[in-house]
Amino acid sequence: MPRLQRLTEAKSLAGLILVMDGETPVPDMSEVPALLTGVFRSLQTLMRSPGKAFCLLIKRHLDASSPAATAAGGVEGMFLSAALEYPSVLFRCVSLDDDTGLQSALDVALDTRRYPVQISFRGQEPFTQAAKVHPIL
C-alpha cells in the first residue's frame, strides 16, 4: 500500500490545474460548496508554498445552468481575488470551445506577458472582457 502524503508536505508545490469539463459534470448543486471549499484549501496550501507559480482553470462544454458552471464561477472569483493579492503567481481561467486546440490555448494562457485572468477562446482566437462606465439614463 503506497504511503499517503499531504499536499502540505510537498516540498515544492508549484501549480494547481483544475479542469471543469461538461463530460465529467458535478452531479448535484449540493456538492458545489464542498467542492469550492476543497479548491480554496488547495489554493491556500499552494499560496503558502515558496515554489508557487501558477493556477489554471480550464472550462469546456459547460452548460451555464449546470452545477459545474456554478462551481467554475466560484473558482473564477477565487482566482480573480487571489490574483490581486499574489501578483507573482499566474492565475488564468480559460474557456475553450470545440474548435480550440489545447496546445495553442495553453501557449496563450501561460504567456506571462498577457495580464487578463479570464480568457475565452472562439476557435483559436482568444478574447477577454472589458468593463465600461456608462450612465443608464
Binding site: T24, A53, F54, L110, T112
Partner: protein
Amino acid sequence: MKGEPNLRLDPGDVVVISGGGRGITAYLALALAPFRPTLVLLGRHELNSEVDNEALIEASGPVDEEARRAGEKNLA
C-alpha cells in the same frame, strides 16, 4: 506591472491536476512532462488495478531534452 509572474518549473516541483486521468487532464500531464514535475492527479474514479501505470510511464521513454528546452522557452 508589480511582481510580474515568473512561470518556472523545476524538476520535482509538484503540480496538482484535478479532473481525472483522461481527456484534457491526461493531455496536460503530457504537456508538463518535459519539465519532470511530480504530478498529482485528482479524480473521482479509482485507478484500474489491472493497468500497470508504472510500466506505462517507463514505456513512454526518457524525456527528450530538446522538447524540454522548447517547453522552457514557451513558459519563459
